[in-house]
């Protein structure tokens, strides 16, 4: 397995050169929307807990924008000439996989946290200018939920990363349909387990409920490996 840090950096640099306008515009829109939404749902009468549900803004930003960003990560495969150019780049499959993985997960996550934090701080300044109250930033943010959100995002990322490679054309539409289908199956399964239609003893249910996070974590590397295998198979 050939892995060179310099080639991964070159692949990321290539992506930045090709898509920097889209990325910059996306971050700016995200920043403006995040600030506006937080301003609209903020409560000037309660400076201690200024934003009613900051987690909601963070979740929407992280999951919706993150999933869309991940689904578009292999947009080259929707056009033949682009796909051939991308596959012809002298870098190994794993390097190509890792470069996109870095852009869609750690880089996106860092940007998202930075945008949210700056928006929250900016909101305090706007609130002071508008209402004359000094908000305490992050005071209402449930930090205990933060890592849960991140864990869920990593799971969604692995799933959408796989979809991005599975569906070369119309990846967003196809992925949404498959995701809704999977979600429906999950709800049905949950319903039948709870209603007793599917025989499962209480200890199994308890085990399932208490360990769902670990199950998700277990699925993540399997989904990433599947994505890598699809990318490798696409070259021939």
């Amino acid at each position: 397995m050939e892995i060179s840090t310099s080639r991964i950096v070159s692949l990321i640099k290539r992506d930045w050169i090709l898509y920097n306008r889209n990325y910059t515009l996306g971050v700016l829109i995200l920043f403006v929307l995040c600030t506006i939404v937080m301003f609209l749902i903020s409560d000037e009468a309660d400076p201690e807990t200024p934003v009613d549900a900051p987690e909601l803004v963070f979740i929407v930003m992280l999951y919706f924008v993150g999933s869309f960003h991940t689904l578009r990560s292999y947009r080259e495969f929707s056009r033949h000439a682009d796909a051939v150019t991308y596959l012809g780049i002298p870098a190994s499959h794993i390097e190509k996989f890792l470069s996109r993985w870095i852009i869609t997960l750690p880089v996106f996550l860092s940007v998202c946290i930075a945008v949210f934090s700056i928006s929250y701080l900016l909101l305090s300044i706007i609130a002071e200018q508008t209402w004359g109250v000094i908000f305490t930033p992050f005071s209402s943010f449930e930090w205990s939920n933060f890592f849960k959100f991140i864990l869920f995002f990593i799971f969604f990322h692995s799933l959408f990363f796989l979809f991005a490679l599975m569906f070369s054309k119309n990846s967003v539409t196809k992925s949404i349909i498959v995701f809704i289908g999977l979600w429906f199956v999950f709800i049905l399964f949950n319903y039948y387990i709870n209603s007793g239609s599917i025989q499962a003893d209480d200890s199994f249910k308890a085990l399932l409920m208490s360990n769902y996070r670990y199950l998700m974590l277990l699925a993540v590397p399997i989904l990433w490996f599947s994505s890598y295998s699809i990318l490798k198979a696409k070259t021939a």
Binding site: R7, R14, D82, G88, I89, E95, T235
Partner: protein, 301 residues
């Protein structure tokens, strides 16, 4: 001292022999089809040496572009092997990809300037030569600050050729490089290609525009019906065949192929003199497609 010098000569000779035999493309018993029913290549065999410019000719749909993609490892043979320096091209290992550049007829066109494109891709080619790129672009008179998706099709061809030459790869594969080039650009193309070509390089040019290349090709390969039907060096063709006006000789029985161009009758006959003749690639191509056996029989000895 003399012993040391002779050892050195022997060492250099061995290295040269080694490079000569290692640096090549070898296609063995290749079978390939785009769909299950129609086979494109049937038991195709071909060897390409280093230090040569190959002209890959063939009718539409004979698989010229497909063959280039198979050499790059972008397509997988059904059976048989495509080896580049003894490595299967389908392995697509990085070291191999760094030594092959394919200029396609249809290219990816992001909305960035030519210099940005160079910044995005040059790092992947260890022997990339920025000066070579700039001098080629000067010959072609295409400004580097132009947007890739805003320049004409011909200008894009010029840019991608310049970029390909600047990569200094061992195998440069050009798919219809002169399509959409105007007349002055075609001579600029030849100038850039000959100026940038180096002895350890192999260039394969797939084309329909035979007239653009003149004596640029060292070897002519013609594909037809899934096979290599002709594969000869230009020097051998010059020695073995004569391309003559029909009214300049009397004996019709020696004629290998007859053709008409602008009312003039052209024929191919065996070259009975020691004097090499000027090769007419268009007539040669037609002759091979019509009767490859008759033409190839001249190269048996």
């Amino acid at each position: 001292m003399e012993v040391e010098y002779s050892n050195y000569i022997l060492y250099v000779w061995c290295i040269n022999i080694l490079i000569h035999y290692i640096n090549m493309i070898s296609i063995n018993n290749l079978e390939f089809s785009h769909n299950r029913n129609i086979g494109l290549f049937k038991d195709l065999n071909l060897k390409l040496d280093k230090g040569k410019i190959y002209g890959l000719l063939g009718k539409n749909g004979t698989g010229k572009s497909t063959l280039l993609r198979l050499i790059c490892g972008m397509l997988k043979p059904k059976t048989g092997t495509v080896l580049v320096d003894d490595k299967p091209s389908i392995s697509r290992d990085v070291e191999l990809l760094q030594r092959i550049y394919l200029q396609q007829e249809e290219s990816y066109l992001p909305s960035i300037s030519l210099s940005e494109y160079v910044s995005a891709y040059r790092d992947f080619y260890p022997k990339f030569d920025q000066e070579k790129l700039e001098s080629s672009m000067q010959i072609f008179e295409v400004p580097m600050d132009s947007k890739l998706n805003e320049i004409s099709f011909g200008q894009r061809k010029k840019f991608f050729l310049s970029f390909g030459m600047a990569t200094n790869v061992d195998y440069l594969l050009l798919d219809e490089p002169t399509n959409s080039l105007d007349v002055p650009s075609r001579s600029q193309f030849r100038k850039v290609l000959t100026a940038g070509f180096h002895e350890s390089q192999t260039i394969i040019i797939s084309t329909h525009n035979i007239f653009d290349f003149g004596r640029l090709f060292d070897t002519v390969i013609i594909l037809d019906d899934g096979q290599v039907v002709f594969n000869q060096d230009i020097e051998a063709i010059e020695q073995k065949l004569s391309f003559v006006m029909s009214n300049t000789f009397g004996d019709e029985s020696v004629v290998l192929h007859k053709d008409t161009r602008y009312g003039e009758h052209l024929s191919i006959i065996p070259n009975s003199d020691d004097e090499p003749t000027l090769v007419d690639l268009e007539v040669l191509f037609k002759a091979v497609i019509n009767n490859s056996k008759a033409i190839n029989s001249q190269f048996k000895n």
